[in-house]
Symmetry: C2
Subunit: 361 residues, 2 copies
């Protein structure tokens, strides 16, 4: 039982030690390589269908001849429940709103499924639900179905929230991780790493006080503004890919796009914005901000003609004020993310390989 | 802090001891009065909208001028994961398929969100996912979006699964718990109590061997056959209400309908089918089968002209073979469920009032 096995996932052959077969470990929830292996091996083969196989943030389906839906789900197990700039309630609403919005869809409806631990104080539930309501109002969506389950003390960690979302994809809009093309421009909507560091700070894991607020926010209005500034009918002037770099961070999301589209993504380190407090925390802890989770940031891969108008539309919108062009798409080496460092050298940026921060969302 | 408070829910004033305010207890997950109180008090006011307020098994919304969607969510925490006749995977698919089908909708798409406990054996996950696949195939639905989270050992109970479902409501179909009318006929699709007793047996809680299989099954094909046998345009020949009596059992679901429609539901005890092994287990344990959870049974409230054709359509369909007329709808006393017992007396059948069987679904 010690020989490594190989698995095929999105065209790549990854060696996978057999120990990963046997039991779930925290790394399976990292959002990085181990999560991708878990999904590729245990979920994709039995559930296989085109919407799931696309590997995007939401499944897109033609529900009727004139109605395309984007549907997404996320369970939220963030710990602690409250952190600077947000809480599990805001996270649960924004996380799913954003996954639906990343398909260019207009998120309309959310469901909310609660798993409550026996002994949970109802005052905590009230705060979380109130925060969900505010986030739903900000996003302009309705929570149209709910469910509540209770498990015995010690069988959960106060509360977990699943949200699933349904949105309408506007006619003509085609956005997917597989549509990035050489010549495209890559835009990042704001500074990275805030969410992960804010949650760590709330755990007291930093060992020092950090003035970092989570970026958790609904990005659907930002996406709508960007779509207005682009032209879906023109490949050079349309938005090709949108992705919110959550678990696994910017590096992992860029790698997903590079692999899905079979392109090279070339980014400039100097153009990637990291707040000084986040940078300081990462340096202290030996973390690379490229791998830290975000919950209100977005990568956009757009045709070169759309780059400037889309960027300007972002600057005029909340949550997009600090948007910057961070790189572009090249043909080769396909499936790779290359970064030109501030020192002028070029390095390969890989997918998150191990567990970094458990239960960050 | 000892005075009871009162709350208003769906028109009824229920006394609620303040102790229920303070902490979540297992009874909040019962599906009975305490669950209803929790939802009415803590979830409905902040999230209020017409789809949620309807209080049905799924939220129905007009997504586009020509597209009505039914959307539902359920988190599944059943213990143990495997029981005679089913497992958490089959339950997770069928539970949500059925909630969508209870709106008369055609369930098309499902999402699946997994919360996995560190240390879970992947062979268990494989069995569960395989069972989900089989159930999805049987129901004819696709799982188009998924999510996997991992929590530390001791922060879950092997695995929890949320499923959310999206279905299309056929033109003209109007089905809701609020549409039962005096003169309507009540049909029950099969014997009750199997699921709850099968799960109890798997826990070893019965103290004896029971040959009871869970009834867990997807009911969407049954609903489609029933709709074909009815006429949505004719109030006397249409299906008015469908509901699957899960947590809280038949008694609780009938009470929900009586209250939502402000009618009296009159049923005949003799016509309610309980398998002998279920009846024996209930008698030994002091349970009333009317309050035991089902996962593949359905209540239909239909116009009198539709009763016979709908019943026949059920008899010709899997999962409806044992369907029987169990009663009818009267105008008064509104909000009540009355049962004529086998001895000829009439008794009030109330909503489940306390915790009966935790984590039954």
């Amino acid at each position: 039982m010690t020989e490594p096995k190989t698995i095929s996932m999105q065209g790549a052959i990854c060696p996978l030690p057999l120990v990963h077969n046997e039991k779930i470990v925290m790394g399976h929830g990292s959002g990085g390589k181990m999560s991708q292996d878990l999904i590729a091996r245990w979920f994709m083969p039995p559930f296989d269908n085109p919407a799931l196989r696309a590997g995007d943030d939401a499944g897109v389906v033609q529900a009727t001849p004139r109605t395309r839906l984007a549907v997404s789900t996320d369970s939220h197990v963030v710990w602690p429940l409250f952190f600077p700039g947000g809480d599990i309630g805001r996270l649960a609403v924004c996380g799913t709103v954003n996954d639906v919005a990343m398909m260019g869809a207009n998120p309309l409806y959310l469901t909310a499924g609660f798993i409550l631990e026996e002994g949970l104080e109802l005052s905590i539930l009230e705060r979380v639900v109130s925060s969900m309501r505010s986030a739903a109002e900000e996003a302009g969506i309705q929570i149209i179905s709910g469910d509540t389950k209770v498990v015995q003390k010690g069988k959960a960690d106060l509360l977990y929230i699943n949200t699933s979302g349904v949105g309408l994809v506007p006619e003509g809009v085609q956005i997917s991780g597989s549509l990035a093309q050489p010549g495209d421009v890559i835009i990042l909507s704001g500074p990275i790493g805030n969410h992960g560091i804010a949650v760590l700070a709330a755990r007291g894991d930093l060992g020092f006080q950090a003035e970092v607020q989570s970026d958790v926010a609904p990005l659907n209005h930002l996406v709508a503004a960007m779509l207005k500034a682009s032209n879906p009918a023109d490949p050079l002037a349309s938005i090709h890919t949108l992705r919110d770099p959550t678990r696994g961070g910017l590096a992992t999301s860029l790698n997903e796009i590079a692999r899905q589209s079979a392109v090279c993504i070339a980014v400039e380190e100097a153009s990637i914005h990291v707040n000084p407090a986040v940078a300081a925390a990462c340096e202290m802890l030996g973390f690379d901000p490229l791998y830290i989770a975000n919950e209100g940031r977005m990568i956009a891969v757009v045709g070169p003609v759309a780059a400037q108008p889309v960027l300007e539309s972002m600057h005029s919108t909340r949550y997009g004020e600090d948007a910057r062009i961070i790189g572009h798409v090249e043909a080769a080496p396909a499936g790779r993310v290359l970064m030109r460092t501030v020192l002028g050298s070029t390095r390969v940026v890989d997918t998150l390989s191990s567990e970094l921060l458990p239960r960050i969302c």
